[in-house]
Amino acid sequence: MLIFVLRRLVQAVFTIFGVMLLTFLLFRVIAGDISARYVNQKLGQEARIAWLERHRMDLPMVVNPDAPWQVWRRDFWNTQFFWHLRESATFESRSFKTEQRLLDIIAQKARFSLSLTVPAMAMGWALALLIASLVAYFRGTWLDHVVTFVAVLGMCIPYLAYMIGVQWLMFQIRPTAAWGLRHHFNIYLPVAISVIAGVGASVRFYRTVILDETNRDYVRTALAKGVPLPGVLFKHVLRNCMLPILTSVVTAIPFLIMGSLLLEQFFGIPGLGPLLLSSISDRDIPIVTGLTFLTAALYTLLLLLTDILYAVFDPRIRLR
């Protein structure tokens, strides 16, 4: 057990390091020198150098030529790569545009994202599970066929179409609720869209998971010895289905922080999604780097946590 946890822990550390490496490559090495966008040329070379220095972009990339392999010297660690690692882990980097600390920005914006995505995800999950259990219970009947068919149709409508369509409907009913966050009421609309747009795919996935489980031997045994069908479904089957379903829920959690990028952008909710998009058009590299790393790190840690919890609750997992 301990060995399993340790092994997963080491894996997670490697993954997080990989993400740091990847963001460094993408945003520092490939994106190149972007000082021209933030320092007016007329201020002269001195201003440019000062700006580069402030954002530590004048340092050597990975290996400091002054101290190539002398790990014990301070200079060895004084390169862009090691500062990148440090800033990634602490979210200390500052925005190019506003000079604000990333941690402050996240603290300020995350609550808007969370207020949209937490209810959306909880409701979507509960609704999908309810429909999927019902459908699995009535499998093979017209209800099953109709719901599955509607779920497939719902999956095929692009997300953007849901947003535009539902917003248009809302605009007909109550125009002030269609955009922005002026009233608390305005949060219902994006939440509803998020639930409606996601429920099709989830119902289909959960239904498959539940039906896979109902074909197992223990279900036949329970039925054969006379346990009523609802008892089997809700006591045995649903409990065993929770594993894949919980994985799908947990791995969606980073999106909670990031918010539904598209929804926030579309409805003018000042969360982290629009921040990422505007940072991209502004080439505000510390913000893009930080937000990418934040989602990846959260994802990795949550996955680690679920794996460990599974191993605690289901001894079969450790054998794999």
Partner: protein
């Protein structure tokens, strides 16, 4: 002539069918799958033909006819520059199908080869490849795409040659980003399947007669996991089309001059309120049918090619 063949050629009473023949037979008998296949082929034909049919669409401005509702002259109305929305939608198929095809032409072989290598050789190669894909997979999909598009915003590959690829504004940037970022699923499945295949007797036999590892990998192992690649291709196609729409909507997709369903939805998002529904309806309709057909066909294909996965 064809009738004679059966009588003259002596065949064993019950010829064994290969996986492929068996899958083809199942698919041909499956009416919904065939309907979907026809829809996909129609889209492919439109994608190939429309640039030749409407080569001048992009410059066909008509300022006397802007934002007109559907009529006999313009069956799907006109856009904000007076250009035909019908032609725009048909040209959008070229963008979507190219992106879908190219993204998977890059992603699926990449995933298959890496997955097979990881699964077959194991050891540090396996560790390295698994590390690579867990790292990539830990960044959520859309952010992964945005990140790579962002990084390569100003990159132009093969500049000043006939093969010039503008990764910032061109279509190539979109499918390269999608291709490089979406091989993880294929890799994971192929790796797991290869690990099972590696232990089978025929691989042992090949190893026993002294076949080199690389030959076993490409001649014996990969053909036996190929069906995963084909299934992933058809499912990845849907993902690529949807991703292109979202990227174009965010302004990170194909450039403004290229007709695409995503930029049509983006252009029309404020139009619905003033009653101009035709542009967004055509784009959504076009996406809806190809995604539906591809989804259903992918499912049927998986059932036909991988009998173990068949759902009740």
């Amino acid at each position: 002539m064809a009738a004679n063949v059966d009588t003259t050629v002596a065949r064993p009473a019950k010829a064994g069918r290969s996986l492929w023949a068996d899958a083809r037979r199942r698919l041909v008998r499956d009416k919904p799958a065939m309907v979907c296949l026809v829809i996909i082929l129609v889209y492919a034909a439109v994608a190939i033909a429309s640039p030749h049919l409407f080569p001048n669409w992009a410059d066909s401005y008509d300022y006397d006819d802007i934002n007109r509702a559907p009529s006999a002259a313009h069956p799907l109305g006109t856009d904000e520059f007076g250009r035909s929305v019908l032609q725009k939608t048909l040209l959008g198929a070229t963008t979507s199908m190219t992106v879908g095809l190219m993204a998977n032409v890059i992603a699926v072989p990449l995933g298959m080869v890496l997955g097979a290598i990881a699964g077959y050789y194991g050891g540090w190669l396996d560790d390295a490849i698994v590390w690579l894909y867990t790292t990539l997979a830990s960044i959520p999909g859309i952010i992964r795409l945005i990140a790579i598009k962002f990084a390569f915003q100003d990159t132009v590959l093969f500049a000043r040659t006939p093969f010039e690829m503008d990764l910032g504004r061109g279509m190539s940037g979109v499918y390269l980003a999608l291709g490089v970022m979406s091989w993880v699923g294929t890799c994971r499945l192929v790796r797991a399947e290869t690990m099972k295949t590696r232990e089978l007797d025929y691989v042992l036999a090949a190893r026993a007669v002294g076949t080199r590892g690389i030959v076993i990998l490409f001649r014996h192992v990969i053909p036996n996991v190929l069906h995963i690649g084909i299934i992933q291709f058809s499912l990845g196609f849907v993902g690529a089309i949807t991703a292109e729409v979202i990227l174009s909507y965010l302004g990170l997709g194909v450039g403004a001059g290229v007709p695409s369903w995503g930029s049509m939805i983006d252009a029309a998002r404020m139009d619905l309120v003033v009653g101009r529904w035709w542009e967004i309806a055509s784009a959504v309709g076009a996406i809806f049918f190809i995604v539906l057909a591809m989804n259903l066909f992918g499912d049927r294909l998986r059932d036909a090619l991988d009998p173990r996965l068949r759902t009740a």
